[in-house]
Amino acid sequence: MPSIKEHTLHISASTDELERIRHFVADHAGKFGFDEGDINDITLAVDEACTNIIKHAYEWKTGKPIHIQLAMRGNEMLVSIIDEGKSFDPAGYKMPSMQDQLNQKKRSGYGILLIRKLMDHVEYRKRNSRNEIRMTKKR
């Protein structure tokens, strides 16, 4: 049974907090032994997930809770991010086409695409009023 180390950060939903979130993730990913490229990938994926929560789940209402937990399990990092806002339906997500986005002057929809490209596995869970995004990345 591999040992599990966990680190948790509780923040209130605000873009003010994004830098602190990135520092938290990069610091622990580095200590876990990820190389610089992987640290950048995990940090960006968590930023994108939290930005989506701030924008879409909480619709820019500040002060709402976001819980971030990092767990090191074997050679893998598990990231869990929990919010209590509007839930995201992954089945309803349509992969954006760059040219369509440009034509329509749209600027969002890329966070999820990036998360999927940056992490090894991504899943969404909903339990009562809590939404969770779980992502993993192997070292």
């Binding site: 924008k55 440009l102 969002s108 490209k117």
Partner: protein, 114 residues
């Protein structure tokens, strides 16, 4: 809190925006405001020199996407230069190099307007 700064200068008909720091959902409105002002003033030949850019998320990339069509419809363009490899990687992941001129240095970016 994320830090981001823009310094603006001109090279003949081209406006150069030197950008520094971290471009995320918190700081993206700063770049957005600058681009809006340039479009309103009809300064639509723009080079964004990203040599000082340490980080970008999709919120930052979204600003480029939101204004590029307005700028191109006025016969202008945004050329992007001098990105650090880790920042270029994010542009590349979303396919930006097929739709934007992204070049190694500012000289080349300015030359693309000639």
């Amino acid at each position: 809190m994320s830090k981001f700064e823009i310094r603006k200068r001109s090279r003949s008909e081209v406006t150069i925006l030197d950008i520094y720091g971290e471009l995320d959902a918190h700081t993206a409105p700063i770049l957005e405001k600058e681009l809006q002002q340039l479009i309103e003033s009809k300064f639509v030949h723009i080079v964004v020199n990203g040599s000082g850019l340490e980080y970008i998320s999709s919120a930052g990339l979204g600003v480029f996407m939101a204004y590029i069509e307005d700028i191109r419809s006025q016969d202008g363009d945004i050329k992007i230069s001098s990105l650090k490899p880790k920042v270029f990687n994010v542009f590349d992941l979303l396919g930006f190099p097929t739709l934007y001129d992204i070049v190694e240095n500012e000289e080349k970016a300015v030359d693309r307007f000639k």
